[in-house]
Symmetry: C2
Subunit: 342 residues, 2 copies
Amino acid sequence: MTSGEPLKPTATRATLKDIARAVGVDVSTVSKVLNDGGISVRAQTRQAILDEARRVNYRPHALARNLRTQRTGALGILLPDLTNPVYATTVRGAMRQAEMAGYVTLIAEVADEQRSASAYMRLVSERRIDGLIIAVTAESREMIEAIEGNPVPHVFVNRRSSIGRSVTVDDQASGRLAAQTLIDAGHTRLGFIGSVPDLDTSRRRYNGFFEVCREAGLASVSIANAPVSRRGGFDALHSLMGGRSPPTAIFAFNMLVGIGALAAARVRGIQVPRDLSVVSLDGEDAIFTAPPLTAITTPLAEMGARAVIELEAMINGREPQDVVIDIPPRLVMRESVGPPPN
Amino acid sequence: MTSGEPLKPTATRATLKDIARAVGVDVSTVSKVLNDGGISVRAQTRQAILDEARRVNYRPHALARNLRTQRTGALGILLPDLTNPVYATTVRGAMRQAEMAGYVTLIAEVADEQRSASAYMRLVSERRIDGLIIAVTAESREMIEAIEGNPVPHVFVNRRSSIGRSVTVDDQASGRLAAQTLIDAGHTRLGFIGSVPDLDTSRRRYNGFFEVCREAGLASVSIANAPVSRRGGFDALHSLMGGRSPPTAIFAFNMLVGIGALAAARVRGIQVPRDLSVVSLDGEDAIFTAPPLTAITTPLAEMGARAVIELEAMINGREPQDVVIDIPPRLVMRESVGPPPN
DNA sequence: CTGAAAGCGCTAACAT
DNA sequence: ATGTTAGCGCTTTCAG
C-alpha cells in the first residue's frame, strides 16, 4: 500500500532557463523568441534558441505564464446535468470552440443553485478561469450575489438572465413550428408539456406555441408542467391524458420530456400516432424511440460554440451583446405525428 | 462592437500582502496562519489575521500557490463522447469525488486516438493537471508515446491497458448473468452484440457470456460487431437477424447498443419479447424504451469515483494497483425478456 | 513567536 | 541585438 516517495508532482521538464543556459543567452531573449517570434533578435541567435527548444521539447509552464500575464487560458462551464444530452451537446460545441481558441475547459456539474453559487465562487475567486459559461438557471439570491460580488466575464447559454448576456436560440419559433405542425395535421385539442414556471426557454416555446393556436382559433391548450427529464415527461403525459377532455396531440418542449411522454403513452395503451400525436425536440435519441419522434431541431452545438465566441469577446474587452442564433428551427418528420383519431 | 479597455482579466482581490499590511505583520506570518492554522503564532495575532482575512473575503490565488507548490489542484479527464450516458455517468462519479478531494476537473472530449494524444500532451506538458483519468482506448502508438514520453499519474477507467493501472467493473460477471438470464428463460439460440475487437470491456463480457453458453451445452452463439452507439446496435441487429438461423435472444453489451437493437427490431416487425428477447445494460434511458429493457446494472459512478481515489493515491506516492469494483452486477427485470417463440 | 529572503517559471519595461 | 531588473502571489527554510 505504501511505498517510498511521493511522485514528483509533475515530470521535470525543460524551462526557459535551461534553454538560455544551453544557448548562452539570457532567459528574456529566449522568452522573446518563443513568444513574439523574436523580431529584433539576430537570426543566428534565434535559430539556436529555436533548435534547442525543439531539442528539449520545450513547453511553457502554463501556471507560471498565467501568474505573470494574469490570464489562465481556462474557461469554466456550469451545467446542471451532464447526462442530459441537450447539455452534453451544447457543452461539446462550447468545448470544441474553446479548444480552437486555445482554452482548456473546466466543467462543474451543479445540481442546484446553492451548489452553483459555491462552484462559481470556487472557480472565480481562486482565479482559475478567465471566463465562465453558465448553463444553469441563476435567479437565486446566492447565485446573483456570487456573480455580482465577484464578477468575471460570463455568458448564459440557453437561458436569459438579468445579470448577464446570453446566447439562446429562437425558442418562440420552435413553439410556433410545433403548433403549426399539429394544426396542419388536423388537430384541434392540443397539449403542451413544459417547465413554464422555471425555465425561460420553456416559457418562450410555450408562447410561440400558444400564439399559433390562438391565430388558428383554438381557444385553449392544456398544459402540464414537468421537470426536464424522461420521468418528468412520463408523469406529465399521465396527468394530461387523465383529464376529461384529453388532447389528441401534444408538444413536448424538450427531447427527454418527449421520450418520457412516449413511454407513458405506451403504458396507458395509447398508440402513437394513431391515438395521440407527439412532436418534440430533436437529438440522436429521438431517432431510436418507438415510434421515432417527429421533432424540431435546435442548433445546440452552435449555441455552445457561439457562447464561447461571445465570452472571448468579453474577455478581450469588446462590448458584450445578447445573441440569438439565427439558424431557424427545422421540422424532422418521423412517425409520431398523424391525423387526429376518428 | 469595440469599446474601451480590456476588462481586468480577473477582478482584483485581496492578497496575502493586503492582509499583512492591514494587520501589520509579514506575509509569511499570514501564510502560516491561513495554512497550517498558525500553530506557533500568538493567539492574538492569529485572530487579527483571521478576522481581516474574513473581512476582505480572502481566497488564495490558486495559480500562485500552485506555482510554488508544484501542484495544480486539477485533474484531467479524457473521454471519447460526452453525449454517451455511460461516460457521462462515469465522469459524474469522478467529478463528484474530485470535488470532495478538493480538485477541479478539466475535461477533454477526444474523438480519436490522435486527438487523445494531443490533448494529453497539452494538459500534461503545460502542467495544467496533477493527474489524469483516461476513459479512452490508448493502444495507439501516438498515445503510448505521449504517455510514456511524458509521464504523469494516470488511471484508466473502464478500460485496461498495458501502460497504466485501471479501474474496471466485473464485466465477465455481467456477461455470465446475461447468458444465464436468457438460458433460464428457455432460449437456446443466442446472439451477442458487442465491439469485441476494439473494446476490452466488450471482450470480457463476451467471454463471460460464452462461458455460460458452453456450460449449458450451447454450441454456438452468433456475434455481431457494433460501434458503441444506437446506430451501431441498430445495424448489428439487422445483420444478426438477417442470417439463416437467427437467434431468439440477444445480449447487447451496452445500453446504447441495446436501444439501437430494439429500434431495429421494431423496424423489422419483430416483437420484443414475443419474437425476440433482449437483455442489455442498464441506465436511465433503458427504463423508457419500448418495451422497457431488461438490463444489467453497472456501477459506473462508483467506478469513476474510485478512479479518482486511485489517482489521488498515485499522486501522493502510494503504490498504484488495478482495481475491479466489487459491486456485483444485478439484473433488473423489465419487459424485454420472455420465453422463446413457439 | 515573527520576519527576512529566496524562489517557483515566466514576461515586459527599461537599460545598454 | 541582448541583458538587467522587477515582480505576478504564494510557501518555506532559516534567523532573530
